[in-house]
């Protein structure tokens, strides 16, 4: 395993103009979608479209300039892709808020606050790029990050600070700002911790103990960290009833452990541990059991009527079915009929209006984003960067898989946000920071190494 970039490699180009064009396209698509919603629902272009469009465009231009100045070698595709998804989420939330209905999904959709959070998100993105010139400083903060992450996870349980909304105690109140979900930020801190910790311990963790069948089992004493993370994940599940975050965290840890140690046995142990934990939780906790029952037979009329039953899931599926291959067109379906269409079920709501065609494109954008992140990870020169970039990319993919798989009944439904689309500030801010980290690392990875002063007669240096 070589930790230094193999040479000779073709030098990456900056592609800054291409990025600007793609960003402009993304903003134009979003403005077009806004206009589409307005024309379909009220017969006129929404008044706010120009202001929305111009401010989003202006902000993106600012982000672009920051990026060009502070991370000029960064992957040109990442920012336009995120802009497109974030914008589509804004359009859907706006669309839900103008639907003429008293249903919660229409009442609770708040495009203006989501737009504000988007602005703050982009500001945080820029600030991260400006102040974090070298992400490797994060490696020094490994245990700090771990402690911060754990604190953020348990913070909702602290009296006075934490708040319970909709039966889940995963919020903290911040005076003047409203509520935040600290778990969203905890994910970032924990991925940083995992990366730093695993880089330090990977040699030990990779040491094989006994060989059983075809698998080299790790030494029993190295199971410790895995068991701790497993325990923390189950703790989240038990105390905060947050099935999604628990699954997200554990899965990400196992993936990073595998990358660090290259040992499949960790993955198998992880899956077994998680399955055991899930079965245990399923037998002890009614709400976990219920999710599984609903997953197996969502169309059951009894379950459909039951409180906490399959109605919400089925409403999402009805929406997607009604959208069909081409969708109803933005503003022309009834996504407001889905409970939580603006948050957990925004994927289904989008699917009704842009159809299979649109969803395939959307999933493709997410996939591209993830693979771009993994590419930065592959190109990174030091193990910490590799692990961090890989972990951040994986957590993004894993999160999309869990929530989209959940609302499309591919896996049991757990509550999670759809990255960049679901309404909610915390997730949006955390994900924009995550993107800033990926951009920073892709910049470092793609930046050509300093050229040694060479005798030109000896080596032909290829440079564009």
């Amino acid at each position: 395993m070589s930790e230094v970039a193999e040479s000779p490699v073709p030098m990456p180009a900056k592609r800054r103009v291409a990025q600007l064009v793609m960003l402009a396209l993304a903003v134009l698509i979003i403005m077009g979608a806004y206009a589409n919603v307005g024309l379909a629902m009220t017969g006129e272009v929404p008044v706010g479209m120009l202001t929305y469009g111009l401010s989003l465009g202006g902000l993106m231009l600012a982000a672009y300039l920051v990026l060009a100045k502070f991370a000029p070698w960064a992957d040109p595709l990442i920012l336009p892709l995120v802009t497109l998804v974030n914008g589509l989420g804004l359009v859907m939330i706006y669309r839900l808020s103008v639907s003429d209905s008293n249903l919660p999904s229409a009442k609770l959709a708040s495009p203006s606050s989501q737009l504000l959070w988007t602005f703050i998100g982009i500001v945080l993105f820029s600030l991260t790029l400006i102040f974090l010139r070298d992400h490797r400083v994060l490696q020094r903060l490994t245990y700090t990050a771990g402690a911060v992450g754990l604190f953020l996870l348990v913070s909702p349980l602290i009296p006075f600070l934490g708040q319970e909304i909709n039966g889940a105690r995963i919020w903290i109140g911040i005076p003047g700002l409203g509520q935040l979900q600290p778990a969203e930020f905890a994910k970032l801190a924990l991925v940083i911790f995992f990366a730093g910790y695993l880089v330090a311990k990977r040699d030990v963790l990779a040491l094989a103990g006994r060989r059983l069948l075809f698998i080299d089992l790790p030494r029993a004493r190295d199971l410790g960290p895995v068991l701790i993370i497993w325990g923390v994940s189950l703790g989240i599940l038990v105390m905060q009833k947050d099935l999604g975050s628990s699954l997200l965290l554990f899965g990400t840890f196992i993936a990073m452990l595998y990358v660090a140690t290259q040992r499949v046995s960790w993955v198998i142990i992880g899956i077994l541990l998680f399955a055991g934990g899930a079965i245990l939780a399923g037998t002890i906790f009614e709400h976990v059991h219920q999710r599984f029952v609903v997953f197996l037979n969502p169309e059951d009329p009894e379950l459909f009527r039951a409180v906490g039953g399959s109605e919400q899931l089925m409403q999402g599926l009805f929406a997607m079915g009604s959208g069909g291959i081409l969708g109803t067109g933005l503003g022309q379906g009834h996504p407001e009929l889905i409970p939580l269409a603006f948050s957990d079920f925004i994927f289904s709501a989008t699917g009704e209006e842009i159809g299979l065609t649109g969803l395939m494109a959307l999933l493709m954008i997410y996939a591209l984003l993830v693979e771009r992140g993994l590419r930065a990870s592959l190109a990174a020169r030091d193990p910490f960067s590799k692990l961090l970039a890989g972990g951040l990319s994986f957590i993004l993919a894993w999160q999309v898989f869990i929530i989209v798989g959940g609302v499309t009944n591919l896996i049991p439904l757990t509550g999670l946000v759809t990255p960049f689309m679901s309404q909610g500030g915390s997730a949006l801010l955390a994900n924009w920071i995550l993107i800033a980290l990926l951009v920073r690392m892709s910049d470092t990875a793609r930046r050509p190494p300093p050229q040694a002063i060479q005798n030109e007669g000896l080596t032909q240096v290829f440079q564009r």
């Binding site: 003429d100 993936a255 290259q262 079915g321 699917g351 969803l359 993994l374 592959l378 890989g390």
Partner: protein, 486 residues
């Protein structure tokens, strides 16, 4: 670390591939089922999102969609003629529809493939989809006359009138009726209980008696027996003499077939014309036995029975009944055994005779135009079958004119017009008063209208065959006059 990272990348791609496959499964494979699920409220909203086309007849609007202020239900259905056309237009309720609203639903709501071109043009010009307009063959004057006359009888009943030359339905009235507006509201809480209430009523207001109910045809069926008898031997004519005993002994039984009220029929040997005029039973019973089951059955089939007919609502099949013994055949030949007829079928028999023996396929939809007024479909009259030769048709016509002039149906006479007709009084099994039937067409020399009318339990009072003509014939007369502008 690169090789495990590459595997993670592949795993991520696999996860996205799984998601994509699943979304494809949901939105392409399973979409139809999810879309149509009764728990999917969208279907309910979608019904009211599109401006359905109008249903019109003879310049009158029978059903139209009007815009509301409610954005959930943008268009609601109105029926300006209310009860008068209820069984023709049908209703458009939150979850279902009936009659023309149902048969022509895809055209009315614009989803039909025939409207693909129009929809594509609308897509580019940005116009909202509008359904096609359906114009019916109904003659509003005939419809109104039939409705008023039937209602005056105070009975349940049905009338259907045809243009004998084309098969176009000129009137289709079934009583009692209902107000389609009551069943077409958007409030399920009101519409569904009202529907249940109507569906449970004993007099079945939702039933379209003209096409969905069969009755014993009684003496009107003698026209069919007569047709078969004339067809069997072309030398027979209106003046041919037949045996007409006071009672006709039925073979292998100890009962005999009497004439109505046990009366004699002429002198015991009468002309065919006389037999039809007076609607004697014995000569027809004898004719039927002489012809045999197969010939009788064949004749009914030539008049269109046994062929699935839709107008476009599907018509309940009429039936001559199974083959039994001679005695049963004699009774069937006077329309009083297991033969069951829809009023439409009886009207087709009258129309076939009127139209020189050719039965035209009945239809209700005259023309379909898109929202811009461009024609999409124009009905083309089609021949269903040739019931009798034109020669036989002429003989039957002559005799049926005589029935109205000299016989049981004098109440159907229209001054200055030769009216042909045949009365019927059909006994029902359950001790109820008999049904009064009348089939007719006019003017006999150049028929413009043929019709059948039944008044359920309408021949109550007097003990004479004339009572069939007494209740039903005047109703027919009102419709004939309306069509012929008299």
């Amino acid at each position: 670390m690169n090789s495990p990272l590459k595997r993670v990348a592949v795993a991520c791609l696999a996860m996205f591939a799984l998601l994509m496959i699943n979304v494809n499964y949901l939105q392409a494979v399973k979409a139809e089922g999810l879309r149509g699920d009764p728990r999917n409220t969208r279907n309910f909203y979608d019904r009211y999102a599109i401006e359905r086309g109008r249903i019109t007849a003879g310049g009158k609007v029978l059903a139209q969609s009007v815009e509301t202020k409610d954005p959930r239900f943008r268009f609601i259905r109105q029926y300006p003629e209310a009860r008068l056309y209820a069984h023709v237009t049908g209703f458009f309720s939150p979850e279902s529809e009936s009659a023309i609203e149902r048969s022509e639903n895809q055209l009315l709501d614009g989803s039909s493939a025939d409207l693909l071109l129009r929809r594509s043009i609308d897509l580019f010009t940005g116009e909202p989809t509008k359904g096609a307009n359906v114009d019916l063959t109904i003659n509003p004057k005939a419809q109104k006359a039939a409705y008023d006359a039937l209602r005056q009888s105070g009975k349940r009943g049905a009338l259907v009138a045809l243009d004998p030359k084309t098969g176009g339905i000129l009137a289709m009235v079934s009583l009692p009726t209902y107000d389609p507006t009551e069943l077409s509201g958007t409030d399920k809480g009101k519409v569904f209980p009202r529907f249940d209430e109507l569906a449970k009523q004993k007099d079945q207001p939702l039933l379209n008696r003209t096409i969905a109910q069969t009755y014993p045809p009684g003496s009107t069926f003698k026209v069919v027996t007569m047709a078969a008898y004339l067809e069997d031997d072309s030398s027979r004519g209106p003046q041919t003499n037949v045996d007409a005993p006071q009672r006709l002994p039925l073979p292998n039984t100890n009962i005999s077939l009497p004439n109505y009220g046990g009366a004699a029929c002429g002198s015991g040997s009468v002309t065919l014309t006389f037999a039809l005029e007076k609607s004697c039973n014995t000569p027809f019973g004898k004719m039927g036995m002489e012809l045999g089951y197969d010939k009788m059955k064949e004749q009914t089939e030539k008049f269109g029975m046994g062929q699935p007919v839709s107008v476009p609502m599907s018509v309940t099949a009429s039936d001559f009944g199974p083959e039994e013994d001679k005695a049963a055949l004699a009774m069937a030949s006077i329309g009083q055994r297991s033969n069951r007829m829809t009023p439409l079928q009886m009207a087709m028999i009258a129309a076939g005779i009127a139209n020189d023996g050719k039965v035209m396929k009945p239809y209700l939809v005259n023309k379909i135009t898109d929202a811009k007024g461009d024609s999409i479909n124009q009905a083309k009259p089609e021949e269903l079958s040739e019931a009798v030769s034109s020669e036989t048709a002429g003989k039957l016509r002559e005799m049926m004119v005589s029935v109205v002039q000299n016989g049981t149906a004098n109440l159907a006479q229209v001054p200055g017009v030769q009216v042909a007709g045949k009365t019927g009084t059909a006994e029902t099994a359950d001790g109820q008063p008999p049904h009064a039937w009348f089939i007719s067409f006019a003017p006999a020399e150049d028929p413009k209208v043929a019709l059948a009318v039944i008044v359920e339990s309408g021949a109550a009072n007097v003990g004479a065959e004339a009572t069939g003509g007494h209740t039903a014939a005047p109703i027919a007369k009102a419709v004939l006059e309306a069509v012929l502008n008299k």
